[in-house]
């Protein structure tokens, strides 16, 4: 199935999956940080693979991303991506909720490990909700990998996953937001199905 074949019904079903997944992720993050977390409206867009790396900003923007790969009934790549500054803000919030310090003077490895754990909680909660929706209890998730790099370099990897099947990317993402004094801290969950996996998801949901 080509991405051009997806109907509005299919896209709505995917949007609903993301909505429920992200809702679960927002609750988990909120529990972890002991503060409210808002969730944005999920976006599902078909974009040319060649435009993916510039779709969310300038290719050289400095971002932090946590990546995991889900295996099983719905193999997919899940990425929690945010501006580097926002990632550091979220790590601060995590240390503050646990230790009464923002941990800015902690070693980089410790802060990265906290970021990795945040990403892991967010993405595994997202995936758990998706698993329940499709009646599967066996979606296992890989160890998270963390990158601090250029936005374009991360999104290129996303584009390459879609490039294996054709010329279009189905960009599925939603924003989580922590309200802070000053600037809010935002992060985006991206769901990138492995080639052929979206068909499995849609058929399990009964819309294909």
């Amino acid at each position: 199935m080509e991405y051009t074949d997806f109907s509005p019904l299919h896209l709505d079903a995917i949007r609903e999956v993301v909505n429920i997944g992200a809702g679960n992720a927002a609750t988990a993050l909120s529990d972890m940080l002991a503060q409210p977390v808002d969730m944005g409206v999920p976006r599902v867009e078909l974009v040319s693979i060649y435009e993916v790396s510039e779709h969310f900003g300038s290719p050289e923007d400095f971002v932090a991303a946590v990546y995991t790969h889900a295996e099983g009934a719905f193999p997919c790549n899940l990425i929690f991506i945010q501006d580097e500054e926002a990632a550091q803000g979220m790590v601060d919030a995590m240390f503050i909720s646990r230790m009464d310090t923002d941990g800015r003077d902690f070693p980089q490895e410790m802060r990265d490990s906290a970021l990795s754990e945040l990403g892991n909680i967010i993405l595994s909660s997202f995936l758990n909700a998706v698993s329940r929706m499709i009646g599967s209890d066996s979606l296992s998730i890989s160890v998270p990998g963390v990158a601090h790099d250029m936005l374009g370099a991360i999104l290129e990897f996303v584009a390459s996953i879609f490039a294996q099947s054709g010329e279009l990317a189905l960009l599925v993402n939603t924003t989580l937001k922590l309200e802070q004094e000053g600037a809010d801290i935002k992060g985006n969950i991206m769901m990138v199905p492995d080639p052929g996996a979206l068909e499995i998801l849609l058929s399990k949901l009964g819309v294909l």
Partner: protein, 162 residues
């Protein structure tokens, strides 16, 4: 970076001297440049995947290593280059995420991109004079016909010319 011709994903772009080719935020992709210093031409491809599917037409031959190399050769030869004088430089092909034990082989696509590009250059008889591939950092590259040097920029570790 300064003004120049941008080479987006799967693009192939030719410049004649004086010209500059730029590709920003290469992750697993490869920025490959072929040039002839005597004819003063250069062309860059932004390669996304190692191998094309032979059963499918490729609207953008720059997308795959095995289709990008022949099209770049064709472009520079048409612009006056001579095959025996052609040189190649490349950068990119990193693995953005390191995930121990993941069953997804796709994470290493950058390594395979670099290997396939090298293999295709070799079988076309083009000399690869410099390369900076692998690792886990994204790169921006810039190639000028003033000095035929490929400048590779990474976040944090700065710039180097190859």
């Amino acid at each position: 970076m300064e003004k120049g011709q941008h080479v987006g994903m799967a693009d192939t772009v030719l410049v004649k001297h004086p010209g500059k080719l730029i590709s920003l935020g290469l992750g697993s992709c490869i920025g490959l440049v072929l040039y002839d210093e005597t004819a003063k031409v250069a062309a860059m491809a932004h390669i996304m995947l190692p191998e094309s599917r032979k059963d499918k037409d490729t609207p953008k031959p720059g997308k795959f290593a095995d289709t990008a190399v022949p099209i770049l050769i064709d472009m520079v030869l048409k612009a006056g280059a001579r095959k025996e004088r052609l040189k190649a430089k490349m950068a990119g092909g990193s693995q953005m995420f390191n995930v121990p034990g993941s069953k997804s082989g796709f994470l290493a696509v950058g390594t395979r991109n670099a290997e396939e590009t090298e293999k295709n250059l070799k079988s076309a008889g083009i000399k690869l004079v410099a390369s900076d591939t692998g690792g886990n950092k994204g790169r921006s590259v810039e190639f000028s016909t003033d000095d035929w040097i490929l400048i590779v920029k990474t976040l944090g570790t700065g710039k180097q010319g190859i």
